[in-house]
Chain length 649, copies 2
């Protein structure tokens, strides 16, 4: 894909973007503010820029006169980059470029950590839990009356050095006919034991040679969304992926409401059934798309939080939400997948990730396994900020974990105009330090209708760093702009006037919203502090951060440090591992080592119930500021704030 250089004047900032990139997004990426209230739909007409060299596609609107167009004016939100261009942003007064550059740091999300299949192979760990072996058996005759199963097993023992073999009844039922279908040439599917001295199960036999067709399914059972991957167990590659809403959503948005539903009548059965239906829909999609045979899917691995896991396995979750909050189990044995209702062949087992506690579930364990956290020597902080926030700190020697009651602010909950990351959500934001006019970038480049979690963090961080809100999250009431106002006794900033929005009201960010965000980030930050303190460490000792979950992929790392969600750290040391639960499920399909190690890992992971850990409340209260009561923990931010204050004064 070709890229082009876009230079912004008077900022003197140049950025490289993909061909076809929207110009206003390029500006945001470069940290260049352009007033833009309408989210990029071209309605407000405020994002006028002048193309000084090169040309852009589109960008012409009825909001521009022919004269303006002739002068090179375009609407940045409608303009498309097709070649190297130089863009001048009109400013209302002559401004020091130093100030210009201070107004926004370039957005930086965590780089995605790619799964390193080659390394796995190099380490000799590419050992899927199931393998296929092609056999040409001697045929029975009047001198050789070996029973069919014995014939198969003996051959595997002698010719393939496979010992302690066990054959399940459904396979025994198939063997006599399958052996005779292609003159005793068969492919056996072997399930490797967890322990080296364990028993290898022969879980399937197929006529002829099918050893090049061996697949696994990995499933992440999220409270909101379920994702599945189809994995080729011969190459290790992912052949397909598909996600869909968890069908349980109709019965409650979060785990607590699902548990309550499960306690009533046949609620548990119902929730079990619908999530199985969702999983089956995903299996069907990816299987059909890849054009593979169902009988060649030899394994399915699943991970989900504790409630999702119990509902999927039809284990009553009622004690999860009742003090003292105990889950039914940590480890679950392999379960015949078809008996759970999964649309796979009768012979395969569902391998389900173990849980740690009621609120640190299999999705987190999957993340710990899939990310390699449990094997690293570096002190690592793992965070999964989703419907609930779970954190793990530790390395290969020890791990501590906790669930933080962050509340749903990062998902848009408790925020007046909060919404999920969907079309019309402001996902990026900057503000002009003089006019205090906003630059709203929305998902889908349409007029704003709300704010998603990552946008919220950027807004609060930006406004805090520019002094528009103070470290308690309160607006500076002295500022001269109609956008900051009091309504029903609550102060707020108007992000988009009603006319520039998709809704019949002004889209605003209130002080209550900011307070909720502060509580949410404070819960997580203080959770990490508490875990570290319990082992005599501090945030400064952290070597790395792994961000997981949908939210983690969008969060602006620098901004997250500004609000005090993340500890201040070189962003190079922060990686985004994506859907950790799915990653762990996939890893389990690729290496049986995971199943061996995971039991030990569950024993290693010390769970803290933060509400019952005395130091937690102190840490929490101290964290209810931007970024924190202790600004010294954020030295870079402290320095920037000091420079800014000097420049102001």
């Amino acid at each position: 894909m070709s890229t082009h250089k876009v230079s912004f004047l008077p900022h003197n900032k140049t950025i490289e973007v993909r061909d076809g990139e929207n110009l206003i997004r390029a500006a945001m990426e470069a940290g260049v503010h352009i007033n833009a209230s309408c989210g990029g739909e071209g309605v407000c007409g405020k994002c006028r820029v002048i193309v000084e060299a090169g040309g852009v596609g589109n960008g012409i609107s009825e909001r521009l006169s022919q004269e303006d167009i002739d002068k090179g004016y375009r609407l940045a939100c409608k303009a498309i980059v097709r070649e190297d261009v130089v863009i001048r942003v009109p400013t209302e007064s002559v401004i020091d470029t130093g100030v210009l550059n201070m107004q926004s740091t370039p957005r930086r999300t965590a780089p995605i950590r790619e799964f390193d299949l080659e390394k796995l192979k190099e380490e000799g760990l590419f050992l899927p839990p199931v393998k296929k072996v092609y056999l040409e058996l001697p045929e029975p005759d009047s001198q050789d009356h070996l029973p069919d199963v014995t014939r198969l097993v003996s051959f595997l023992k002698l010719e393939h050095d496979q010992h302690r073999l066990i054959v399940d009844l459904p396979v025994i039922r198939k063997i006599p006919d399958v052996l005779r279908e292609d003159n005793f040439r068969v492919t056996a599917t072997l399930a490797r034991p967890v322990r080296k001295d364990g028993q290898t199960h022969i879980i399937n036999v197929q006529p002829g040679n099918t050893s090049d067709r061996n697949y696994a399914i990995a499933i992440d059972i999220g409270t909101t969304t379920v994702y599945g991957q189809l994995i080729d167990l011969v190459s290790g590659e992912v052949l397909g992926e598909y996600g869909d809403f968890n069908g349980q959503i109709s019965y409650g948005e979060d785990v607590i409401s699902r548990i309550m539903f499960a306690e009533k009548g046949d609620g548990l059965e119902k929730l079990h059934t619908v999530v199985v239906e969702t999983i089956n829909k995903i299996i069907n999609k990816i299987q059909k798309k890849a054009g593979i045979d169902r009988d060649d899917i030899s394994a399915i691995t699943l991970a989900g939080n504790t409630t999702m896991t119990q509902l999927f396995l039809r284990v009553n979750p009622r004690y999860i939400r009742r003090a003292p909050y105990v889950p039914a189990a940590t480890l679950y044995p392999p379960v015949r997948a078809s008996r759970l209702g999964l649309a796979v062949a009768d012979h395969i087992n569902a391998l389900v990730y173990p849980q740690i506690s009621s609120y640190v579930g299999g999705d987190i364990v999957a993340g710990v396994m899939g990310s390699g956290l449990y094997r690293t020597e570096h002190l690592t902080l793992f965070m999964d900020i989703g419907t609930n926030a779970e954190i793990v700190v530790g390395n290969r020697d020890w791990m501590a974990c906790a669930a933080c009651s962050a509340g749903p602010a990062f998902e848009g909950g408790g925020i007046e105009f909060g919404m999920r990351a969907a079309r019309g959500a402001i996902e990026d934001f900057s503000i002009d330090p003089f006019s205090l006019e906003p630059m709203n970038i929305t998902i889908g480049n349409v007029r704003p209708k709300g704010i998603c979690g990552s946008g919220l963090i950027i807004m609060v961080a930006t406004m805090f760093e520019m002094g528009i809100i103070n470290n308690s999250g309160k607006y500076n009431r002295e500022l001269d702009t109609p956008r900051i106002r009091e309504r029903n006794g609550v102060w707020e900033y108007v992000l988009a006037w009603q006319d520039d929005s998709q809704i019949d009201r002004d889209v605003v960010l209130t002080e209550i919203d900011i307070e909720n965000l502060i509580r949410a980030k404070g819960a997580i930050y203080s959770g990490c502090q508490t875990l570290l303190e319990e082992v005599g460490l501090t945030m400064n000792d952290l070597d790395r951060i792994y961000l997981a979950g949908g939210f983690g992929s969008y969060v602006d790392l620098e901004k997250a440090m500004v609000i005090g969600l993340l500890p201040e750290m070189d962003t190079e040391k922060i990686t985004f591992i994506g859907n950790a639960s799915l990653l762990g499920a996939r890893m389990s399909s690729l290496t049986n080592q995971i199943r061996r190690d995971v039991v030990e890992v569950t024993h290693m992971m010390t769970n803290f119930e933060l509400s019952e850990t005395p130091s937690y409340m102190d840490h929490y209260v101290a964290s209810l500021f931007l970024p924190h009561t202790d600004l010294n923990a954020f030295p870079k931010l402290k320095e920037r704030l000091e420079i800014r204050n000097k420049m102001r004064n």
Copy 2:
């Protein structure tokens, strides 16, 4: 129970019998011949005897005149022994009592070998595959958030030294509620591992203390009859037993016809279903009769021949009856019993005895295990003569086995008036050496309608030893009696004239019948010879014989030696072990050691396909005589025959 002495004159034989014993049966037991054609129904009136001392109950009939009655005559078949008596048997001429005593040896069946539970306990082998453990767990609180399953498992590990525990999903589903039903006081049911280093499964949890209620079911799946026992796993005692016809009988009498039925349409499913129904009927009967709770049945063990086992497990048996006659498998893994349709709790496993070959099945392996053959130092011959005849020779060091195509003669098949051992079957027989009149004893003391297997052996042996038939099984055509005659070109002996029988014809024993019996016993005897010869031994090396199966309990040991079915041996060394299959199933319920040993035993047992063992045909042909071509192998019989011949000449 009181007993009485019965003395017979002029034989001078005295026998002790139970109070209420039938007089003619007492005579037969003493080896005293009394003419009796009608089987004991009092119709023929030939069994007149004189009570010389003491008195008998009944015995008076319209066949006796008042004068006879006054003289002390009674009909032996109707007379009941109530006190010590002296009985004179009228003889038609003055006979040397030496000859009298030669006419019949007292009947001797093998003594039943009682199951020695105490010895099992002494040897430390009373280790049922499942045990119950009562636990009082600490309750969770704000300082103790252990998951429910972890709580249970940890307690078992610490307090009960149970390690490598695994909890199946259905139990996990129950644990949360069961723990809270009686304040965390629970009884766990543990399934012991087969190998010492194996995993112990927690298969059930029950609220409170139920550790004194732990039961197992043992099932023998016979082709004709299914038997079940309820076993108390705390005491080891059998609490109940019940047998019923195998519901598959409607679909074919023998295994071959069942296999043929299974090959058609849903025949396999049908046969599987009906045998499961039969088993369930038996489980229900014995469970209800004992008044125990279904949830307290913790194990079920089953044994059957190869075809019965495959049909029960729904494994297609089609290759069992097709050359080269291979079964599907030898070992079957434990199978969740409820999934086979068994009417037991969901958590218990069905343990099914392994097979050796298509025609040496789990019933025989069960016999080898249950009888202790596999642990003895003595060279032992095990014979199970049922619908098919299976033999095992060996000891703890080696074992060889084979199925003999004996044909159904012992079950009454291929015998003109052959029948199963049911009401009206002649089960015992003697013949007057002078008049050649028979003494028929029938099951139920009714008029004869046929001959059962054990009666047949006695008839042929008796007539052979008395010279009425020769060693080729042909009648002496010189004898002066209307009972020996030619009909449709075949010579026969009339056992009961039409008037004395239950049917509208004479009941006879033909030379064809005798030939069929000779073929049957020859197949078995030569089978044993072949197995022994393969390991360089002969019949003389045998230390013991174990007889199994319904037939074995009735067979007259001496007579079986006379016809050459059994090798000549001190009868003290022959024991009847009853239903070997049921015995083995019961043993598996009492000691887990069986499951550990049985795998090795199946490897030890060398199966011979007699039809493909060259020496077998030679042995077979040589055995088609009474008792055998080689009379020297039967030295006692040889001596008796020589004395008899001398007396004749």
